[in-house]
Amino acid sequence: MWMRTCITYRFSWSLDMLGLLLQIYTLKMIWTAVYAGRDQVDGVPLDGLIAQLTFANLLLWVMYPMLAGYLEERVREGTLALELARPAPFLGQMVAAQIGDTAAGLPLVVVALPLAYLLGGLLPPASPAAGLLFAVSLGLAYAIVVMTGLVIGLVSFWTTEVGGVMTIHAFVSRFFAGALVPLSFFPPWLGTIAGLLPFQAQASIPLALYLGRADGLESVRLLATQLFWVVALLGLARVLWRLALRRVVVYGG
């Protein structure tokens, strides 16, 4: 049902997509100017770099965790009480809404992909195996994005407002996911911070596998890192949810 709600706002969606394509184009032009005619820097070729940034921005756009906003709205408007009474578990309902939202965006990806190829740049997977690893890794990345959105949304039980947090999250996640500057170009201390955050697991890791930048053992380590974040964030969301439920009683009077 959410899928249908979203499709109704086609005009908003297409402007949103245009915004994404502009960002991709801007990044391509900036990085082309930065490379200034060099084919590669530190073993990173320009076309690989542009493909990575294009893909990363596309991925983060498709996977955008709307559910944080849905949760906030329900807490603020109080409709939460109604949904809690439904037989399906509440957090499950939120995740389902998110999946519907993402599914509604998929047809747009079909439109966005060729345009992103023209304005940015794309490459095929390094090998069939790399493509397969990427598919697995992408599933894990999506789970991490959804869990992150859930955690942010749950914060609204305490703040009743997460608009600001979401806006800052949108930048922070793009930055630390390596969608603006590849993590290998970060200054070492910033790279260390990026390695400790879950955002790298949202785009940088699946794309490293796609572009064949990780060998056998390394790719296992990358997948394990993602798995760790899925479990850790799921645990955090559950703890927050249990604490939040106690507060609901307070608001309900």
Partner: protein, 266 residues
Amino acid sequence: MQTLAITLDLAGAAIRSRMQYRANFLMMVAFGLVYQTTGFVFIWTVLTRFESIAGWTLGDIAFLYGLRLLVHGLTAVLFGGVSRVRWQVREGLFDRYLVRPLPALLQVNTMELPAASFGDLLGGVTLFLAANALVGIDYSPLALGYLGLAIVGGVLIEAALQLVIATLSFRLIETGSLAFFVEELFSNFGNYPMKIFGGAAQAILTWGLPVAFVAYFPATVLLARTDELAVHPAVAYGAPIVGVLWFGAAYLFWRRELRQYKSAGH
């Protein structure tokens, strides 16, 4: 004269009402500050690894970026109400402006103090001053005068675009994403040396949408980089005039549509 006095009174009332929630106000300011400066983190990261982008050093780009943010923040503080017109129209709140004697635009902009915009402005001023320390421009009275006029011109351009979109909301139902898109255009292309985007993009962003006039042209004048421009340097020097023209046209459009305004639901 009386119009000015009333406008100032209204603005004062908006400030007082905002200050009733001081903690919230400060939080919004902090948010605006963080949000606006995060974008610069990207450029800073690139330039810690690479020396320059198309010949522009970190200081040069900070100067351009800071000038754009300063203009954007000032626009948001002075004309922030314009971006709320679209929902006021939809909710039927807009009608009250029309039965009062003060020009509607002045009422719109003094209705509520946009707290986050002060953060934008603060971020812009801070970055701009820091950049000035880096590039060390020797300000002559003439250069200082041009800077002042360029800032006014930039504010008028950004305000003109927002006003056009607000005016469109009299007839269209949903203009929020359009407003957001135009803002994206300005911050995507207005904050970086425009020559990296190629000739066609530059032409569109000069003669189609006046993005180049907001900060890029003034920055090339003040940094003595006008020889990299695709247009005659005189165009860059004339940036403030372009602001007046765009705002004048936008205001005429607003006035014309205001006369034909039909309340929501008609």
